[in-house]
């Protein structure tokens, strides 16, 4: 249908839907990032049933956003015509959604394996948790994830699955997505530039980051001039496994 023939209302609805999807994508990124932060503490000394519950909640939120976003994007892509101006935008959203789903699924797989290795069913299992030097919990991260709201106005009832089913569901979803929609993935142009710098946060934020780097650099005990691993003058290999005696 020619775009001139389309009514203003239709164009506006479509624009609103696309914006909704973008916001949903941002929300999904937020939730998956928080999920990843929390999963790095799995198996360490701060692990506990509390952490696992928080992770479950985050995962549910992610699942809700995923399924909603999937449905909406699919319908948007089905309606797409040639020469529509937001075709590129929708395709870009599609590719971003695919990549974030894949990334999230990988995290889920890792979490599943870790939960199997470090079950917390018995008291003595707590001894197996690796002491990694973390002190605090991840409650702030969980709070950040909980603050994320799904941007659509209607409340949909979705049944949130358990971990294993979730992983399989994403597999099915990905297969289906690849087959139903014919979007060439490599034709999408990114809008972000290559070397992204930190946004202009206030001075406190920057200082904090720099002192962080310094804290990580515990002072080197011995300064040796040779860049090689051993003291042989011909050794240019930077590690212990060279053959020069």
């Amino acid at each position: 249908m020619n775009r001139w023939q389309r009514s203003v209302v239709e164009i506006q609805t479509r624009k609103r839907q696309v914006n909704e999807c973008e916001r949903a994508q941002v929300a999904l990124s937020k939730v998956t990032a928080c999920f990843q932060q929390m999963s790095t503490s799995l198996g360490s000394n701060v692990d506990g049933s509390f952490l696992r519950e928080e992770m479950e909640e985050t995962r549910t939120v992610a699942h809700k956003i995923c399924s909603g976003l999937h449905r909406r994007l699919l319908s948007l892509l089905m309606e797409i015509d040639q020469g529509q101006e937001d075709k590129e935008q929708v395709e870009r959203l599609w590719v971003i959604f695919l990549s974030s789903l894949e990334n999230f699924q990988q995290d889920l797989k890792k979490v599943k394996v870790l939960q199997e290795i470090f079950p917390l069913t018995q008291r003595k299992d707590r001894q197996a948790l690796v002491i990694t030097g973390l002190a605090g919990g991840t409650s702030e991260v969980a709070a950040r994830a909980a603050m994320v709201q799904t941007p659509w106005l209607s409340v949909e009832v979705t049944v949130s699955p358990d971990l294993k089913t979730h992983i399989e569901e994403i597999d099915v979803l990905l297969e289906e997505m690849l087959q139903r929609v014919n979007v060439p993935l490599w034709s999408v142009e990114p809008t972000q530039e290559a070397w992204v710098e930190g946004s202009s946060t206030p001075g406190v934020g920057q200082e904090e980051d720099e002192s962080l780097e310094e804290m990580m650099e515990v002072e080197v005990v011995s300064q040796n001039k040779t860049s090689g691993c051993c003291h042989h003058h011909n050794c240019k290999v930077g590690c212990l496994l060279c053959l020069l005696s």
């Binding site: 990124s29 990549s99 990694t132």
Partner: protein, 480 residues
């Protein structure tokens, strides 16, 4: 989105890394608060570094737990560090376990190496982007290169990468500061293990991906048992040699070749790989007039060595010409050509061979026993690559048992032994070595060498072909 296709020959699986499971069990034991390595909080200026261990403690624990010596425990500990189960706090790029009091910490299980999943490039891109966001210019030179490369071929996912990097950065900021430091150390250690800086070895190197998943059990079907049966039957049928005999043969081989191994005895004049001076290769080309003494000595070790070395084969040919028994070697060479030559010319070559060597009354008839002759002639009706195999082996044995020893005692060989040169060893200084490195030039292109070879062959064939009587008489008549 990774593009999944079925045309990649299915090499998705990493090989089995059984050590990982065992190391995990060991690390869990090591970190046990009551029986493991003692960790403490170290004070550094104003801050405390939470839960670190010193390397000496680690070595002592490993030595006690596994009843080994201290230096073996240190090597084992280095492997733990190299795989990424423990990471160093000072000098984080060098993954070794030192013994001078440096500090180490356990890696969180999320960042442990896993056999099933490789560390993905997209995660690496997100990590590098995150570091760049946190502090501009914090990336090393090789990391910047990698970043640019990733940007190039993951261009379509770049929005996702940047978005995720920003979100992860903000999510990390939500944690208390000490934990942020620990997490950043952990992440950095993880990526040093899985994307090592240049000129370092990685413990995660494993060669090619495999076709079959090594973790799945093979289904015991009829085919499987049939394969096992055939394999065991063949194993029973193999001929056995007493270990004293085979070890004796190996000892003899080692004693003979000891001086010829460039790893054990420096080769004369100097090893080109070490000193960048290719005199050694120049002196040992295939068509050189005067070979080196080492080379000539090698020819006397076995007939196989003599034949394999082109210069040696040429010398042997000279000797055979004097004895007028060159047909054996000629037949052997023809058989080699049939085996390794092109398939198009195979039937013609087989015809040639039959006419020249095997037919009764042929010009260069070889003397093989009747049974082999019969088999070969029959096989030549439908020639394939290995039709002359039996005859060739027979001829080889003939030459080895008879002609070879006569060659070694002959004046030809003694002559070449006397003429052979023994180059003096080079003794380059540092400055000369640098000079050699700068003077490296590519050697002759193999295309040119091949063309030269072909020309030589053509000339030899023309010279050895049947003399055209007419031409000979014509030249004589002309003179008259």
């Amino acid at each position: 989105m990774t593009i999944r296709s079925d045309r990649d020959h299915g090499q998705h699986y990493r090989p089995r890394m059984t050590c990982l499971k065992k190391l995990e069990a060991m690390v869990v034991q090591m970190q046990d608060p009551s029986t493991g390595v003692k960790g403490s909080d170290q004070k550094l200026n104003v801050t405390t570094i939470p839960h670190v261990m010193t390397d000496q403690d680690i070595i002592a624990w490993i030595a006690k737990h596994m009843s080994m010596e201290n230096n073996e425990a240190q090597a084992f500990g280095t492997m733990l560090v190299a795989y990424g189960y423990i990471y160093p706090l000072q000098d984080h790029k060098k993954l070794v376990l030192k013994s001078d009091g440096s500090l180490y910490r356990f890696q969180t299980p999320y960042f442990w190496p896993v056999q099933k999943w490789a560390a993905e490039d997209i995660d690496y891109a997100i990590y590098l982007a995150k570091r760049n966001i946190r502090k501009k210019g914090a990336l090393d030179a090789h990391e910047q290169e990698e970043y640019d490369k990733l940007h190039k071929w993951m261009n379509h996912k770049w929005d996702f990468i940047v978005m995720q990097a920003k979100e992860q950065y903000h999510a990390g900021k939500a944690r208390p500061k000490a934990d942020r430091v620990v997490f950043d150390c952990q992440e950095r250690a993880y990526w040093i293990v899985h994307r090592p800086p240049p000129q370092t070895h990685s413990a995660m190197d494993y060669g090619l991906d495999r076709h079959i998943d090594p973790n799945t059990e093979e289904k015991k079907t009829f085919d499987y048992y049939r394969r096992i049966n055939i394999y065991t039957q063949q194993a029973i049928m193999r001929s056995r040699v007493k270990s004293s005999v085979s070890l004796g043969a190996m000892l003899k081989y080692i004693t003979n070749f000891n001086n010829h191994d460039p790893f054990l005895v420096p080769c004369l004049p100097s090893n080109p790989w070490l000193t960048d001076n290719d005199a050694y290769w120049e002196l040992n080309t295939d068509d050189i007039e005067v070979p080196t003494k080492m080379r000539v000595e090698r020819w006397s070790f076995s007939f196989y060595e003599l034949l394999n070395d082109p210069r040696g084969r040429a010398d042997f040919k000279v000797f055979l010409k004097k004895e007028f028994s060159g047909e054996n070697l000629a037949f052997w060479e023809a058989a080699e050509e049939l085996k390794f030559g092109s398939a198009a010319t195979m039937s013609e070559k087989a015809e040639q061979v039959f006419k020249t060597f095997l037919a009764p009354g042929a010009p260069r008839w070889i003397n093989i026993d009747g049974r082999t002759m019969g088999l070969t002639v029959k096989g030549l009706e439908h020639p394939h690559r290995y039709v002359l195999e039996a005859a060739q082996t027979h001829i080889f044995m003939l030459m080895k048992k008879d002609t070879f020893y006569r060659y070694l005692k002959s004046p030809v060989y003694k002559d070449i032994q006397k003429k052979a040169i023994s180059p003096a060893p080079h003794n380059f200084t540092e400055a000369q070595l640098e000079q050699n490195m700068r003077n490296r030039r590519p050697s002759i292109s193999p295309i040119i060498t091949y063309q030269k070879e072909q020309e030589e062959k053509a000339k030899a064939a023309a010279a050895a072909g049947p003399v055209d009587i007419k031409k000979l008489m014509a030249s004589k008549l002309d003179r008259k």
